[in-house]
Assembly symmetry: C2
Homo-oligomer: 183 residues x 2
DNA sequence: ACGTTACCGAATATACTGTTCCATAGCGAA
DNA sequence: TTCGCTATGGAACAGTATATTCGGTAACGT
């Protein structure tokens, strides 16, 4: 990829991320993004069709790192049948979210749009599918598998949102415990 | 209230509701609303400050009916210590949602915005607060009350959304059972 | 050093918002 | 019915945002 393209793309991502931590997605304009990124208007549209596509690509990039790490973790556990606490995948996920510098948390809060949440949940469902045995004891037989998986992912997102809306006072360990106790 | 005002208001509500069942809130313009409602631009802004306020007032009107009925039910149960299934409040809520002609279901689906969902959940939390004993057995002691109430409301909304996203194939009784089994 | 390509920046068409104006028709009350 | 009041219509308006177009320029990879 051309160095100019890469630099432009990164500048736009950086500007967009910074703006996202200040105001909600809906109120961010292309004008603001290109001002802060210091690129031309035409350049922006050469890279991204719309604001929404920009958000989508940003999500893909962010979640790629987060969930790849979590998935790797999940695979490790299955391979070596580790004796560690099997819920550590979700704990690591929360820890990753908290220490994260990419403003993912701001994006997950309800001040942002629900597009972001939908992308997040889509990836989360894949992760949950690898962790189903963890929740087998809690599952009532009458519940369809599809509902159950969606439910677990939903509760995780809801728990994170509750955490954020209430000032993130709890530690990642506590929040993970809440999640596992609630699901 | 002036008959003209009332008619205008109803025309705008009707047009807005019809549009909401066709496209998502964000893409609806004031121009479309006043075209369909057949009112002047100035008239719209005499009634509603913005599109968002229109949505808010519509929600208040819709939820007022739905939750008042549910609350009445809840009160009845407490007063007469009925022997009926104590989960009937939520069953009635789901039934009300299903038979509802006001397009509430379309609005609750993820195609709509999350403003609507937030308003819904706010009212739902009030209802859940009157029904806490129902869920007392499921609550782990380590969970804070505030988290628990929010969790129950979240699971209800998530269940309804799953129902809608999957084509509303299940009966209200089944969905209520799923909700109670999942929470 | 070369041809290619991304970029700038300025201009442009289009669309939506929210406000203002006055004339008019409908309203409630005497 | 009559009268004063007010909601409405219709149109114009400024302000803002989107998305596209263009030719000149500078940076790129080979």
């Amino acid at each position: 990829m051309d160095r100019r393209q890469r630099k432009t793309r990164e500048a736009i991502f950086a500007a967009f991320t910074a703006l996202l931590s200040q105001k909600e997605f809906a109120h961010i304009t292309v004008g603001e993004i290109i001002d802060r990124a210091d690129v031309g208007r035409a350049t922006f549209y050469a890279h991204f069709e719309t604001k929404e596509f920009l958000l989508k690509e940003l999500c893909e990039e962010l979640f790629c790192h987060i969930f790849d790490a979590a998935h790797g973790e999940a695979c490790d556990h299955r391979h070596i049948f580790s004796c560690e606490a099997p819920d550590s995948v979700f704990l690591h996920l929360v820890q990753h979210l908290q220490r994260n510098d990419n403003h993912v948390l701001e994006l997950l809060s309800c001040q942002s749009n629900d597009l972001f949440l939908r992308y997040f949940k889509t990836d989360l469902i894949k992760l949950v599918n690898t962790q189903l045995p963890l929740f087998a004891a809690r599952k009532s037989d009458e519940l369809p598998e599809a509902f159950w998986v969606d439910h677990i992912a939903s509760v995780f997102v809801d728990t994170i949102r509750w955490w954020l809306d209430n000032g993130r006072r709890e530690s990642p360990e506590t929040i993970t415990a809440y999640f596992l106790a609630a699901v």
